[in-house]
């Protein structure tokens, strides 16, 4: 029955009379709109809806039902971070209203955001814990499930080691959940902990951080309103980040901006572009160097910017010289004139920004792709100011936060790495003895010609990546660089259809002794393969059923309040991690710092207390100023922020702050740093959100001159480049106690700060740095002198410690242009993160077998607006599922005609590995070029033509199922992060 609206006091009957009776609350809303500047006339009004000329209130009669409360949370889908305004009555989420006050979405949503209410009503949610017994699902109590899982984990640990249990986390965790899960991995004693960033932007994070310091979006969605030129490459924001398009399209109108889309498909984003450039998948570096060739040729580069703030551009110049228009056209297929026009626009119509997504990152040269784009931005001086920057649109609602908190095989929270200093830092923050953590890790025996590793060495060695978890289960033990093969997967919030080579994944699943799937909906991990025993499903609630903070793509941190209690028997991530830690015997130590409250399945820590611990330790990334109180204040005052600058209005409680205190937010919360809206922005003072490039690659670098003599180039900024009001008018290294002493600034430290620094440093107090000083004193003193705590360095166009220091074009592993493979081959075989990475062997074999002849169509993948990620959650939502009911492949009319394929008919798509095949519908369209095909990646539940609905527990199968594109996609891994090559492979298509 109707629980939505109050039914009392209704006497007027007809609509007309009702219109006369607007409640006073309604009038508040209108005046609120005016206050928030949404309808402030002129252009501002253009972006807003007005309430029209509904007659004014005469008496207050109608309002929301009595007892309805409004709770604000954040959409759990993409990384834009739209505020969701939920109306809750009697513990039920009864209505969703636009959150006009949010400076990010201003009331708007996409199809997913407008349907999130369904998530907490969903009848396809997992109701209670279950396990698979001889192919049948059985109900379990929480206690029994956790007890059995814990026992099995301990058994595997005793037999094969801690590294044999893979901990796969999620970008759907809150920041606090991510941090807790990483901490859990540390207590368990493994670095085999990962999440979706591996498969979306791991190459971005590694690439960008290796160019200028931090691996994140430099500006914000809102800031794109300032851009005069916007390039999208491998990004279809109209489907993947729809609400961001509000800012981009408004900016395009107001600035008359050029919007240029590079993509193998004419996407929905391209439909709104001023210029669309089609190119062949997997030739990104050739495209970028092709643009750079014109820029250097015509002297369009920003010479002053390069001289002051960039190292190694001359090395790039040498490489770029090889990419003349003819070569580039041959590789990429882009006409030379078009590329020249775009190059000129990007370099001269400034400010210009570059947006990229998985079209760039998911390649066997992903990290190099990213660095090439960064170099283009540096060469044109388009970093570190309004309207510029590397605007990397991330995928999930908290993938930035989960990355920041080290759900990553090579990092502790906040990018401290895995070195001893990092472990000691977090041991201090956690109040646990460093040696305890050493004792938890495996000793790795010598095998396969590799040396043995001690516990300490293993603790400092990066883990195994999620892109190849099944290789760690399937490969001979000798090839896997850890104590034993993978025996168990503990998966919290991660789909099973999101990485290539699914036929291999099926084999891997069959090898696992234990598979635990913790999710609101049963994921593809549950349905894939023929497991009969040893699989557990634990019901986890969504972020709408718990509280916590999440970091959107632009680094703003937003607090979400619990809307309703977890439904059915589901529990929060916090509760489940606590319960499992209890079973495994380290809960007391791990949870000592937190405030514990009673939850549905036992005690659980409050998100606030976890965030306070993050604030005590997250110095390196500036996660120290975002206290729960400050974040909640921002959520309560969302309407006080400017929608372009994101600055809090004068006179408001959030005066001067940037919305969501985007990291780095230096110092303690009491220091009131406003956060950093735009990274590396020298136009602002350090304590006002300014910054510089981070010198993290040394202070000087030796260079050999043509005559054989050597010179030392500085890696610190030069030529008067420093952040506003800096006391040091030159480049400077990161701040340590030693540096403070040299400058004589150590006297500015308070006695309390000095005491903490002495406690940390002991005999080597000079080594205590801005990132290990738990008092925040070093950061405070540096900023008081106008300096950025991490130093003032140069970005580098030559990342000498990475494979291909200056990026070079390399043909994809499965290339359609066999003739180009000889000149532009893949990298030689190597080992990447614990296992072999056979770039050349696989590429060579493909050429020799004539794969390009038998599989002539280039296949790429991407998003649909209605679904997200592996799609189990969104395909179970009836409002979304209705909109996309079939998995399909987009094929060009010419290719379709040659194969006798009609639009809407069924086809078999076959891939070059494992005799893979998928039965899907054909969508014949010019959206893809001739010789190219596209498949969305959200589908699962059908495998190689066989429906797998029966593998789901009864009634929990998603409404829509379909073949996964990753059944077809193939081998190919980035040498730095093991990112898979999901965006380019070959396939054949035939009528079914």
């Amino acid at each position: 029955m109707l629980i939505k609206r109050k039914s009392a006091d209704v006497q007027r009957g007809r609509l007309q009379s009702a219109l006369g009776g607007l409640a006073s609350g309604v009038m508040d809303r209108r005046s609120f709109l005016r206050r928030s500047g949404l309808v402030a006339g002129g252009v501002a009004a253009a972006g807003a809806l007005q309430i029209g000329s509904v007659r004014k209130a005469e008496a207050a009669v109608y309002g929301p039902a009595t007892g309805t409360k409004v709770v604000k949370n954040i959409c759990t889908h993409c990384s834009v971070g739209c505020t969701v305004r939920a109306e809750v009555a009697n513990g039920v989420w009864v209505g969703q209203e636009p959150a006009w006050e949010s400076p990010i979405n201003r009331g708007s949503h996409c199809a997913k955001g407008a349907s999130v209410r369904e998530l907490v009503h969903g009848d396809r949610r997992i109701k209670y814990p279950m396990k698979l017994v001889d192919g049948q699902w059985q109900r379990l109590s929480w206690d029994q499930a956790v007890s059995e899982i814990g026992d099995k984990m301990m058994e595997i640990r005793a037999k094969s080691g801690a590294d044999s249990v893979y901990l796969l986390g999620s970008a759907k965790f809150s920041n606090e959940g991510s941090y807790l899960f990483r901490k859990f991995a540390a207590f368990w004693g493994t670095n085999n902990v990962d999440h979706q960033a591996r498969i979306c932007h791991s190459t971005t994070v590694a690439g960008v951080a290796n160019v200028w310091g931090y691996g994140a979006m430099t500006n914000s969605y809102n800031d794109i309103r300032n851009s005069k030129t916007v390039i999208f490459m491998g990004s279809n924001a109209a489907e993947a980040h729809p609400v961001s398009m509000q800012h981009i399209l408004t900016g395009k109108e107001e600035q008359r901006a050029n919007v240029i889309v590079f993509d193998p498909r004419l996407t929905r984003t391209a439909a709104h572009a001023t210029d669309y450039v089609r190119f062949r998948s997997g030739t990104d570096i050739a495209v970028i160097w092709g643009l750079m060739w014109h820029i250097f040729q015509n002297g369009w580069e920003d010479k002053a910017f390069i001289a002051a703030r960039v190292h190694g551009m001359d090395d790039v110049r040498k490489e770029v010289a090889k990419y003349d228009p003819k070569t580039v056209e041959d590789i990429t297929g882009i006409p030379g004139e078009q590329l020249k026009r775009v190059a000129q626009t990007f370099a001269t119509v400034k400010p210009a920004t570059f947006v990229w997504c998985m079209g760039v990152t998911q390649h066997s040269v992903g990290t190099a792709n990213v660095r090439a784009i960064c170099t283009l931005l540096l060469a044109t001086g388009n970093v570190g100011s309004n309207g510029t920057g590397a605007n990397i649109f991330r995928g999930h609602c908290n993938v930035q936060g989960a990355t920041d908190f080290g759900l990553d095989i090579s990092n502790l929270p906040c990018y401290y790495g895995l070195v001893e200093g990092a472990w000691r830092h977090w041991s201090r923050v956690w109040g646990v003895d460093y040696d305890y953590f050493v004792s938890r890790f495996d000793e790795v025996p010598a095998k396969g010609g590799r040396a043995a590793r001690t516990r300490k060495q293993n603790m400092e060695t990066s883990g195994h990546t999620s892109t190849r978890w099944f290789d760690a289960a399937n490969l001979p033990a000798e090839q896997v660089d850890q104590k034993d093969n993978l025996k168990a997967m503990f998966v919290m919030g991660h789909g099973g259809n999101t990485i290539p080579r699914m036929p291999d994944a099926v084999k891997g699943l069959e090898k696992l002794e234990l598979l635990v799937v913790c999710d609101p909906h049963p994921t593809n991990f549950v349905s894939l393969g023929g497991r009969k025993n040893g699989t557990y499903i634990l019901p986890i609630c969504t972020q709408f059923e718990t509280s916590g903070s999440r970091t959107c793509s632009n680094r703003s941190v937003q607090w979400g309040e619990k809307v309703v209690e977890p439904i059915f028997e589901s529990a929060s991530d916090y509760a489940v991690i606590y319960k499992l830690s209890q079973k495994l015997g380290f809960a007391t130590e791990m949870f000592r710092p937190y405030e514990m409250v009673q939850g549905k399945i036992g005690l659980e820590p409050t998100a606030e207390s976890i965030l306070r611990e993050i604030n005590r330790g997250g110095w390196s990334t500036g996660y120290t100023g975002q206290s729960p109180e400050r974040l909640k204040l921002h959520m309560a005052n969302q309407d006080k922020f400017d929608i372009v600058t994101l600055r809090g209005a004068k006179g408001s409680p959030v005066e001067n702050d940037f919305y969501g205190l985007p990291w780095p937010c230096w110092g303690t919360p009491e220091y009131k740093h406003p956060g950093t809206h735009i990274l590396y922005n020298t136009a602002l003072a350090a304590k006002d959100g300014g910054g510089t490039f981070r010198p993290r690659f040394g202070l000087t670098r030796e260079r050999t001159l043509p005559d054989g003599s050597k010179v030392e180039d500085t890696l610190l900024a030069e030529g008067g480049s420093y952040s506003l009001n800096s006391d040091i008018k030159d480049g400077y290294p990161e701040f340590t106690m030693g540096v403070l002493k040299k400058l004589g600034w150590d006297k500015d430290l308070t006695p309390a700060e000095l005491a903490t620094i002495s406690w940390i440093g002991g005999n080597t107090i000079d080594n205590v740095s801005w990132s290990t000083d738990l008092s925040g004193g070093i950061q405070r003193v540096a900023m008081e002198h106008g300096c950025v705590p991490y130093g003032n360095g140069k970005a580098r166009a030559n990342a000498w410690n990475l494979p291909d220091p200056v990026p070079v074009h390399r043909e994809p592993i499965y290339s359609p242009r066999v003739d180009l493979v000889a000149k532009w081959p893949a990298r030689p075989d190597e080992r990447t993160l614990r296992i072999p990475n056979l770039h050349t062997s696989v590429q060579k074999a493909a050429v020799e077998k004539g794969i390009a002849k038998s599989f002539p169509i280039v296949l790429t993948s991407g998003r649909l607006v209605e679904y997200e990620g592996g799609g189990e959650e969104t395909r179970s939502n009836k409002w979304l599922a209705e909109l996309q009911q079939d998995m399909f492949v987009e094929i060009n009319p010419a290719d379709a005609a040659a194969r006798g394929i009609r639009d809407g008919s069924l086809v078999w798509v076959t891939g070059p590995e494992n005799n893979s095949k998928a039965r899907v519908k054909a969508l014949v369209t010019e959206r893809v070029g001739k010789g190219a095909a596209f498949m969305p990646f959200h589908f699962g539940g059908v495998f190689q033509g066989v429906d797998q609905r029966g593998n789901y527990p009864k009634g929990l199968d998603p409404i829509v199922v379909g073949e996964s594109v990753n059944t077809i996609t193939t081998y190919g891994y980035d040498p730095v992060t093991a990112m898979h090559e999901g965006k380019v492979t070959l396939c054949q298509i035939a009528a079914a």
Binding site: R14, A18, R55, G113, E253, A271, E882
Partner: protein
């Protein structure tokens, strides 16, 4: 008195379908009934444009003209509503409507298609405003609460505008001036044969 209108700015519409799911969310519309949908023309080709469509609440509504039981009525706000108690599910309005707005719960060549359902401009029906009966038959009545249809309020790019015709026309005019090129409104080219480069 206001004359309530929808206007979809085709230069802004990105076919994200927020309007569709917002409508479902707000009005609890069942599977298979689409009060609103997004139509894309030139799909996948240069010049692709999308436009969100629902009942346009016509001034002289053709549905009302053909209805044999006269179940349609126009409110003082110029919203076209209908009475489900009178509707016989004949389907004439479906044939009359140029926008394909009327929806039916049953598919049938002969006999009743069930009670017709369509966009109510989030303003309920002839039942008592904000009553349970109204919600069950017609969905929510946001207009009675002083709110606009949720589809427009939640539009991702502020493409779909709703409100008094004069006000939204003014918003749209300001946008066109800002953009610096011809109307750009969907249908403009058909109506005026003006070449527009975007």
């Amino acid at each position: 008195m206001a004359r309530m209108k929808f206007l979809c700015d085709a230069d802004r519409c990105i076919e994200c379908n927020a309007c569709v799911t917002a409508c479902k969310n707000e009005n609890d519309v069942p599977w298979g009934i689409n009060r609103r949908r997004v139509v894309t023309i030139n799909d996948g080709k240069p010049g692709e444009r999308s436009v969100s469509m629902a009942c346009m609440h016509c001034t002289d509504a053709p549905c009302a003209a053909v209805c044999p039981v006269d179940c349609f009525y126009t409110t003082a706000d110029a919203v076209v509503l209908h009475n489900k108690d009178l509707c016989i599910g004949c389907g004439y309005c479906f044939y009359a409507c140029p926008f394909g707005a009327p929806q039916y719960p049953k598919v049938s060549n002969f006999g009743s298609r069930g009670k017709m359902d369509k966009c109510t401009y989030c303003s309920g029906g002839p039942e008592v405003d904000l009553s349970p009966a109204e919600f069950q038959k017609y969905g929510s009545n946001r207009l009675a609460e002083g709110k606009l249809p949720l589809c427009a309020e939640m539009c991702s790019t502020k493409s779909l505008l709703a409100g008094d015709g004069e006000v939204i026309a003014q918003i749209y005019k300001e946008r066109v001036v800002k953009r610096g090129y011809g109307s750009g409104a969907w249908g403009w080219q058909t109506a005026y044969r003006e070449t527009i480069t975007i």
